[in-house]
Symmetry: C2
Subunit: 237 residues, 2 copies
């Protein structure tokens, strides 16, 4: 097969002009009270000094998903988080460097898994209420990601990705309430959540509780997959 490009002194030449492709990751975390976003401070122009999502250019030997995973690891140390395609953003003038099209991903991580980060990296968590003006069209991407996260939370068990391995139902409820900005009745939430059958009771107590400690649970992925497969699952929050 002939290659689709010609190598010239000036670089890789194509018959028609091409856009460059990047992947960016909107990383969400939860600190127990508020939704958090992981941002990187840009060290070079354009938008030097501004905060942006971790991301970078796609190589010729990797898919856009592999690119997102690689850049995320390089820039934040994170490995294999829960990650989903969010969408492609291709406005002609979204990047001052030229025609650069990005695929945004949204990722959910347990904040505890990022604490031991290299201090040299300019990565920082921002609570959603204090996110600064971002580089490129990342403000727009963030709004789309938030909308998607809230929609998905209603009928996918993604809340567990943001909590520690072991969590209590009240913790889970605080997560839902913070993300969806609504209030659930404490007792009905517990009943409904346990009724899904995708929680494993651990018989331990939440050591961080200030008063009576809640029972700790973990997410039963096997049971979830099984119930999803044969359609007996009843989510919807």
């Amino acid at each position: 097969m002939t290659p689709d490009y010609i190598k010239t002194p000036e670089g890789y030449a194509y018959k028609y002009p091409r856009a460059a492709m990047t992947a960016d990751a909107v990383i969400f975390g939860f600190d127990g009270y508020e939704l958090q976003v992981l941002l990187i401070q840009r060290g070079i122009e354009p938008y030097k000094g501004r905060w942006a999502f971790p991301g970078g250019f796609m190589r010729m030997d990797e898919t856009i998903e592999e690119c997102a995973v690689r850049e995320l690891h390089e820039e934040t140390g994170l490995l294999s988080p829960y990650m989903q395609q969010l969408g492609i953003f291709s406005d002609v003038d979204r990047d001052p460097r030229g025609r650069i099209v990005t695929t945004a991903f949204y990722a959910l991580v347990k904040m505890e898994s990022v604490v031991g980060q290299d201090d040299a990296m300019d990565a920082r968590w921002f609570p959603l209420s204090a996110v600064p003006a971002l580089a490129f069209d990342h403000d727009h991407i963030l709004r789309v990601a938030l909308k998607r996260l809230r929609e998905d939370l209603h009928f996918r068990p993604i809340g567990f990705e943001l909590l520690p391995q072991k969590f209590s139902i009240p913790q889970l409820q605080r997560l839902y309430e913070a993300l969806l900005e609504i209030h659930f009745d404490r007792r009905n939430f517990q009943k409904k959540m346990l009724a899904t059958g995708i929680l494993i009771e651990l018989g331990e107590k939440d050591p961080t509780a200030r008063h009576r400690a809640g029972t700790l649970y973990s997410f039963n992925k096997e049971q979830y997959d099984k119930m999803k497969h044969d359609g007996t699952l009843r989510l919807e929050f």
Copy 2:
């Protein structure tokens, strides 16, 4: 701003290699009995003679959405259908011509709006049960599109995009049953659908009915938008 490319005798040269970008549209229609897909027969290699989704290369002065709309119009005559991003497909070897990344869209159209098509175009509707082996990774894209269509149908009023302006509730039910491959109780379906409040009764009868004709309705988009905005909407089918 300096351009991000250099024009050479060989074409457009970039410092690093770049993938080409295309948009492809999975067009769904409904004939009253079965879900249909609009395909184009390829006239050139690769995959000459095989069927594929309409689509083509993105220009430097258009977004990927504009590209999808343009290619769709050029290849099928369709204008402004209901169209949504499906996802980006970037497997390294998905196209034998080289590194070509595609963004797939899924579109819903009223089949009546495509009937007067130019006969010279090699576009044809295929019932889902008779779709041939497709070019590139389009088989895979079709499976993803179907999954997405079925998910969306549960809580978005997209069924209306596939039916004529005026339709009866039994027609709508046949659509839901064909797409989701499940059976609804006729009387409960009617009640629930009317209870949403997003249908306008037209006071006319379905002229295509073979026995007692159903009452015709149209989709009340204003009411839908209003109810969606203030959260009083109750869909879920």
